[in-house]
């Protein structure tokens, strides 16, 4: 059963449409990457999947259920978590509180999952009582991911998880995302580091000006001449 299916999505922020009939799908356990130039509508597509954008036409299906009209808090309950591109932590709250907020809708014991996240991101365990606003960019990115994982989602949406990180941190982050994916969590991520992203993903989509441009497997896209010219630095 297809995990996420976006079908002919058209919409925007109330003014002119930003997305024009975008199609996209993520199969269970798959890692899918979206690349494209700045302003192509990648973030907008992520937000649209999460009920944060006005959708005029098309549909978003999650495990074949139509979630197009649901509110974000209802979508979270379906098993999708989302890490926005910017401002993705609660700055005045501690690491631990951030994780708790990620699990707001859970009423069972969240300790075991929190411990798992601390094991996965040991840095967060060291900083559990520090306020998020005083952490480094890389640490915040970990926290943002940890927050999203608190719900043990079936699908994780990541918007540029490596933006602004140093090369070592970027490698680490891709490694972690791969591990999350190996645990069976579907991943849909937007990435600027196209080369690395395409190397680890199953499939990729190229988005330009709010439209599907190319989609193919990761290796094929890496080998694609047009794509290489556009995004991979020749």
């Amino acid at each position: 059963m297809t995990l996420l299916a976006i079908e002919g999505l058209t919409g925007g922020y109330g003014g002119a449409d930003i997305l024009h009939g975008v199609d996209l799908r993520v199969e269970p356990g798959e890692m899918v990457v979206i690349i494209g130039p700045n302003g192509a509508g990648k973030s907008t597509l992520m937000k649209a999947a999460f009920g944060l954008v006005k959708i005029r036409e098309g549909a978003v299906l999650f495990e074949r259920r139509d979630i197009t009209a649901l509110r974000p808090d209802q979508i979270v309950r379906q098993g999708i978590s989302y890490v926005p591109q910017e401002q993705n932590v609660f700055p005045s709250m501690t690491v631990e509180e951030n994780l708790e907020m990620g699990a707001f809708i859970r009423n069972d014991d969240i300790r075991p999952q929190m411990d798992r996240i601390y094991t996965f991101f040991p840095r967060l365990a060291e900083r559990r009582d520090q306020v998020a606003g005083s952490m480094s960019g890389g640490e915040r990115q970990m926290l943002a991911m940890g927050r999203a994982l608190m719900l043990e989602p079936k699908l994780l949406l990541l918007d540029e998880p490596t933006a602004g990180l140093s090369p070592i941190f970027i490698d680490q982050t891709f490694e972690r995302i791969r591990k999350i994916n190996e645990a069976g969590i579907g991943i849909l991520m937007v990435e600027q580091n196209a080369k690395q992203a395409l190397a680890v993903c199953d499939r990729g989509y190229v988005l330009t000006m709010g439209r599907n441009r190319v989609d193919d497997t990761g290796p094929n896209l890496l080998a694609n001449k047009d794509v290489a010219e556009m995004f991979l630095g020749g």
Partner: protein, 287 residues
């Protein structure tokens, strides 16, 4: 002179306690809904009069009527939000502010309609004050300060120990992220109004104990309350404590040198000074 100043400082702490309770509510609401709630002073008056009805009408002692007044005022705040503010929330914070100005006027008219335009007091007669050397301390003043300490502590525990309290801080920190984390914003907003309204009711009751009840009592306090909230960094409930104390003390101590009529001007001057040198407040607010 020294005892005079000490005496004024005591009054300052008392009015600072009242201002703090009001400013915390203003700050909480600002943090989550991003607008200056101009009807907050009049909510205080509503709380004070609710308690008055129970005291004067049913012969309740004041301490026993306070919980009912708090619940009643919280309910009024939530009802106003659900009937009016909720519909305007998506429009803009400026419209909310204007609407709350209208609500302030309407609430005051309701108070006048129900309880009349005249001064009222909870208990007539003069309380026997305690004397410590040359310092005079009224029992009511002790209750006010203790009550404020208990409430502020309770609020602190609520904000740091409960899931709902943390959700309130989360929404005030980053509204969009709170939404995508699945925090049910409407429920948190309702709780915010209940807490803010409840604190306003206590502030109103304390103000009534300290002075008297009058339909304009709340509006008159709005300026110092906002001055306290801004001084502490608006949107930062903890800053409101410091802000409330500074404004309360400054207003009372200033009477040494200037006419007491101009106490509001002192609050205003401090606020303006703060806006010039450090608009984000003592603690970083949301300018």
């Amino acid at each position: 002179m020294a005892t005079d100043l000490l005496q004024l400082a005591i009054y300052g702490v008392v009015s600072g306690s009242i201002l703090t309770l009001g400013a915390i509510g203003v700050s909480l609401i600002y943090g989550i809904l991003r607008f200056a709630h101009f009807a907050h002073g009049d909510l205080m008056a509503v709380g004070a009069y609710f308690a008055f009805s129970l005291v004067a009408g049913l012969g309740f002692p004041l301490w026993a009527s306070a919980p009912f007044a708090v619940a009643g005022t919280a309910l009024v705040a939530v009802a106003i939000d659900q009937t009016v503010y909720r519909r305007l929330r998506r429009v803009s914070p400026i419209i909310l502010l204007i609407s709350s100005f209208g609500i302030a006027i309407a609430l005051r008219s309701v108070v006048q309609l129900i309880w009349g335009p005249h001064n009222q007091v909870y208990a007539s007669g003069i309380q026997l004050p305690w004397r410590v050397g040359d310092i005079v301390i009224k029992p009511d003043h002790v209750w006010i300060v203790l009550g404020a300490i208990v409430l502020v502590t309770a609020l602190h525990l609520f904000l740091t120990r409960t899931k709902m309290g943390k959700a309130m801080r989360a929404m005030s920190d980053n509204m969009d992220l709170a939404l995508v984390s699945g925090i049910p914003s409407e429920r948190v907003i309702v709780v915010t109004w209940a807490v803010g309204g409840g604190m306003a009711a206590v502030a109103g009751i304390f103000l009534g104990m300290d002075t008297r009840l009058h339909p304009v009592m709340g509006w008159s306090l709005l300026l110092p309350v906002f001055a306290a909230a801004i001084l502490g960094g608006i949107g930062r409930p903890y800053g409101a404590i410091a802000g409330g104390m500074v404004i309360g003390l400054a207003m009372e101590m200033s009477t040494v040198v200037i006419d007491p009529t101009y106490k509001p001007a002192v609050a205003f001057a401090l606020m303006v000074l703060m806006l010039i040198v450090r608009p984000q407040g003592l603690f970083k607010g949301n300018p």
